[in-house]
Amino acid sequence: MLDNTKKRIVIIGATSAIAEHCTRLWSTDKTVELVLVGRNAEKIKQLAMDLKVRSPQSTINEITANFTQASDINALVENIASNGKLDLVLIAHGSLPDQQECQRNLNTCTDEMVINGVSPVLIAEAFAGYMEKNNSGTLVVIGSVAGDRGRKSNYVYGAAKGLVTRYVQGLQHRLANTNVNVVLIKPGPTETPMTAHLKQQGAKLASVESVAEEIVNGIEKGKAVIYTPSKWMVIMMVIRHLPRFIFNKMDI
């Protein structure tokens, strides 16, 4: 039975810290339908239990899936799209690779390119088709400030996220005359399990609660690109425009 009254929210990579905190904001004390998709069934289960306490009236569906094969992605998205409407889709999965390891090992490099670049793009493409047909919904993809300019410390991750940036740009162009909104999120370094080793090295990280709040508010306001924390918009503008002879001297 399709329930058309509740807002239906699909989260791909639901156990990622940013996605988890966005989902809390979208569901707490509201009645929504959540579709939580992740790779680890036990983690998805824990997430669903938490959300059930925060949002007892909501319907929560748990799906375990792999995100790398085109055929798996097709089946996953078809399954989700055929079971209800797509009001909000957040694509949030990813990993932060060890740049050195990617330079040494091309298999690692391939895996990281796929999980951070190709996979979110394929999932977005699959959802975009359904959303365009229904002429409604908001599709949100998490990119990164790292995608704005390649830097020696993490250009493999940066290249994958750059792929996401360019892809979303094109999709926004394609769907500009429809009722489908496409939003690109570019978080700066955020305090999550993915960045724990950066913090250990003394990096200043934004809190995941504040990042999630800015994402949720930005989507509400209808922004097309959301830098969070917002200071990164300025920082990346400077970094993108630095002349190469200066940029190449920087140890970043």
């Binding site: 810290a17 824990q46 997430l47 239990m49 938490d50 306490v53 925060r54 399990p193 724990a196 250990q200």
Partner: protein, 432 residues
């Protein structure tokens, strides 16, 4: 390595920090330690109870998931890094409240248990541990201990108020309490001396759930404002301002000093006296007046501050408090933040819990080196003589003999200690 300091900001130290974020992975993370470790929540305790310099810290704030809630019994099961704030914000509108809460809600449930924190309603509801039904404790040797008031009660009694030394608390079952509204009916009554304070405290115990008082620590006779309140049955539609202010920088010297303190205290006393009477107050400003001022510890400047909280048995309470005020008044030290409160006539559930029958005085002192520690030593002497104890969650410097005389269950407690856990406080007061 990450530099970590506690709320008092006396010092900061390098720590190896690992971040716990999945409850199923904690056992492995504890086993992987390279050094002895310590669970660390929001770091809101004042002294060194939450620090482990050059050792491992297990940061618990990523363990912030709820697990289940039974709306018939009010039993909430959650991970230990959930904040009191998270529970209050979600459940007060649904008619449930955390039964016992300290003066900040920005603390984890694990920290609230480990320090067995108390609040304004101690005489009615005891301390935090009295409302814990079950704890899941992980030991560094991979043992899992589930304990509660009836299940493994000795482990429970060691862990409640056990300042993190018995293992890492990962999951908790808490009994929330029904509350008719988010508001409190409050009455503020000025008092001119300690005798009046005790009279007010005694006569308020029966009919008022919340009692506390602000005391002007520079006044000779101990003038102050007595505050008492009850949960209100009526709500107001006023929307609470969510605005928070952050102290923007760390001043080189304490802004609380001889020039500012006396006029500030006098002005505050007279303002409150002028406004005394009955009020209808939202629970947030009532319980957590300082939470809107983020990083307020910065007002004490870069050298940080000590907090001194003691509890003195009631039979000598009035004299001992008077003597402490005399010492402080003579020194001209002290601060605006001074709290005087009577505890109820009940023993705590934890072997090492702080609350015991008597009167408790809590004061901040900007750190001025020797001058300050000397004053604190004179307060120690009064507490020792009166057979009182000093609160570990606030302490950074008490001498070992005062710790041992204040906490007679120490030897029994040590049987439950986890040998893979150590803190700055345990090394200072227990020796390892």
């Amino acid at each position: 390595m990450v530099r970590v300091s506690s709320w008092g900001g006396l010092d900061n130290f390098e720590h190896h920090v690992s971040y716990l974020s999945n409850r199923d992975d904690v056992t492995q993370q504890l086993a992987n330690r390279k050094f002895n470790g310590l669970a660390h929540g929001m770091g809101k305790s004042y002294g060194d109870v939450c620090l482990n310099p050059n050792g491992q810290l297990w940061s618990t704030t990523g363990l912030n998931r709820f697990i289940s809630f039974d709306e018939h019994t009010g039993i909430l099961k959650c991970e230990s890094g959930v904040l009191i704030r998270d529970i209050q914000q979600l459940f007060v509108p649904r008619g449930w409240i955390v039964p016992v809460t300290p003066g900040t809600q920005l603390i984890t449930i694990g920290g609230a248990i480990a320090n067995d924190v108390h609040g304004k309603n101690h005489h009615v509801l005891g301390s935090f541990g009295d409302h814990v039904q079950k704890i899941k404790l992980l030991r560094t040797d991979r043992r899992i201990i589930e304990c509660g008031p009836e299940l493994e009660p000795e482990w429970f009694s060691a862990t409640v108020g056990g300042f993190g030394l018995t293992g890492v608390i990962v999951e908790v079952e808490l009994r929330l309490r029904p509350v008719p509204s988010a508001w409190v009916d409050v009455e503020n009554i000025p008092y001119d001396n300690l005798e009046d304070f005790f009279k007010l405290a005694d006569e308020s115990e029966k009919d008022w759930e919340y009692t506390v008082s602000w005391i002007d620590c520079l006044s000779k006779h101990g003038r102050g404002i007595f505050m008492r309140g009850n949960a209100s049955k009526t709500s107001e539609q006023i929307v609470q301002s969510k605005k928070k202010v952050t102290i923007p920088f760390l001043p080189p010297i304490s802004l609380v000093n001889k020039l500012t303190l006396r006029p500030f205290n006098t002005a505050y006393f007279h303002k409150q006296k002028y406004q005394a009477g009955k009020q209808h107050v939202h629970y947030e400003p009532f319980f957590y007046p300082l939470d809107k001022l983020l990083k307020w510890n910065r007002i004490y400047g870069s050298k940080g501050f000590y907090q001194y909280q003691s509890v003195i048995p009631r039979n000598v309470g009035a004299d001992a408090v008077q003597e402490m005020l005399n010492q402080i008044s003579r020194s001209g030290e002290g601060s605006f933040l001074a709290v005087l409160k009577t505890f109820g006539n009940r023993e705590s559930i934890g072997m090492m819990s702080f609350p015991q029958p008597g009167v408790t005085l809590a004061l901040d002192f900007p750190n001025k080196g020797k001058k300050t520690t000397k004053l604190l030593e004179s307060l120690d002497a009064i507490v020792r003589e009166a057979k009182g104890r000093v609160y570990l969650a606030k302490d950074a410097r008490m001498p070992r003999d005062l710790f041992e005389s204040g906490y007679p269950n120490l030897q029994k407690f040590l049987q439950y200690r986890d040998s893979g856990i150590s803190s700055a406080l345990s090394r200072r007061l227990i020796g390892n």
